[in-house]
Symmetry: C2
Subunit: 247 residues, 2 copies
DNA sequence: CGTTAAATTGAAGATCGTCAACCAAGGTGG
DNA sequence: CCACCTTGGTTGACGATCTTCAATTTAACG
């Protein structure tokens, strides 16, 4: 018997999976049944520590979460931002431990999915297994786009790009209100995601504001000109794999 | 009946998988049987184009291959380098098309694995399926480390880091001779991998040479001081998941 | 030998980081 | 109710890293 909230937890994940392939009602209920419990954590909490042995994976129900790695001199790099409905460390099921940590950027609600339940799925639900595998690969595609950003985009474009990405990812799960969305994270977080300093992120946000493309203030991102912002970022949503597979 | 060379093609992949978990002889032969044919390509050849529908995946038998993405102004970013034994686009099996391209950096020999064969594996070989899934996740871990490099490491460290990574990845498949290994790619390729300009890569290689850490010349990387090089790069091989899972 | 791709070097400049100060908002306790 | 503190945001001056542009050398190969 799945705990209260399991249906809601799975709902947003299903939205994303169903953009790519059919998920039967049976499969959906198997997913719901894989949830052991639902837990809340405050902002700043480290949910998974680098190197720790894992026995369950985390499905994000609400809030924002980041995967990050640290360097010696206190430098931090966020490798991926997660939104509601993301299977934040499904890859931990395969890897058994992670080479990065995971922390809550805001207060979060998460669903705990034991690895044993995932193994059961792989034993009896080949199609659902492929869908879960696919979801880890959509994740990897986002990472590749981040590599491109960090390697070859200018600072303004990087900042513009993260915002565009979050806009699209939040939109499909219904968390965008017209042209604005809640993004209750700090400029320091944005800096860690874009590989810049907080000071420079601040300036780039100022520039985007002056260009009437975007205002990010008080945890709200307000996009004034989506086409313009996407052009500034050289943003092409293809890497999000949000449209049906072409065959 | 697997084609000639299938055994060799699978051998190096098995080496890597077996660092993490047991692979039975039966599973190994299933993998060999999944190979449809073996093909050679010259250096520079584009093996997979961004966006093209895919019906098979590529296992690299010999040579060096890169995944890359382009930006408008002719800027190129390599998201990952591949060595012999890498399942270069296994993720294409799930995604059905890629958001990046793949090209041969050197002459290559590749094995073609039809997606139908992979589906058959997922239907009847749950454990092997998990191992293949794992292999795509080890891949993603390498991408995350690249994100860290591009976001937070200095130019010297980035260059040093790629070399360290390739050293370790090549070592486990027996392609390192003592302290040196063949890396027949250009400084332009290194620049595309590290998010730098070829000019600056050249200077950083010069610096590493002056510091008696590394000489890269004529397609051969010669490491003079591995510990020193790794320290310069803040390199920690944990992300390669080459040791047994701790439980 | 001539031709081409790759590597190397120098000079100049842009982007981004560092350091440091200051401001704004929100919460806390006296 | 308001001083105080903390966190996050903003701004300016300066400097380092890396890029750009351009020329030159080296190596590989027919």
């Amino acid at each position: 018997m799945p705990p209260d909230g399991a249906a809601e937890a799975i709902a947003r994940l299903l939205v994303k999976l169903r953009l790519r392939d059919r998920v039967t009602e049976h499969e959906a209920s198997v997913l719901r049944g894989a949830i052991d419990r639902i837990v809340d954590h405050p902002a700043g909490q480290v949910l998974v520590s680098e190197g720790a042995p894992l026995t369950f994976s985390i499905l994000l129900i609400d809030g924002f979460v980041a995967r990050f790695k640290d360097l010696a001199e206190g430098q931090r790099q966020i490798t991926e931002l997660h939104v509601a409905g993301d299977f934040v460390d499904l890859h931990g099921y395969l890897l058994k431990r992670l080479e990065h940590s995971i922390c809550a950027l805001t207060p979060v609600r998460i669903a705990i999915v034991p690895h044993a339940a995932l193994t059961a799925i792989t034993e009896s639900e080949p199609h659902l297994t492929r869908m879960l595998w696919l979801s880890t690969q959509m994740d990897a595609a986002i990472q590749r786009e981040r590599i491109l950003s960090l390697g070859r985009r200018t600072a303004v474009a990087r900042v513009a790009h993260v915002i565009c990405e979050l806009f699209h990812r939040l939109k499909i799960i219904g968390m965008v209100d017209g042209t604005s969305f809640a993004l209750p994270i700090t400029q320091v977080d944005l800096a860690d995601a874009t590989g810049l300093t907080p000071v420079h992120v601040n300036r780039m946000l100022g520039r985007l504001r002056n260009e009437r493309l975007l205002t990010f203030r008080g945890g709200i991102a307000q996009i004034h000109d989506l086409a313009g912002l996407e052009e500034r970022a050289e943003f092409d949503p293809a890497y999000l794999f949000m449209s049906a597979a072409r065959r």
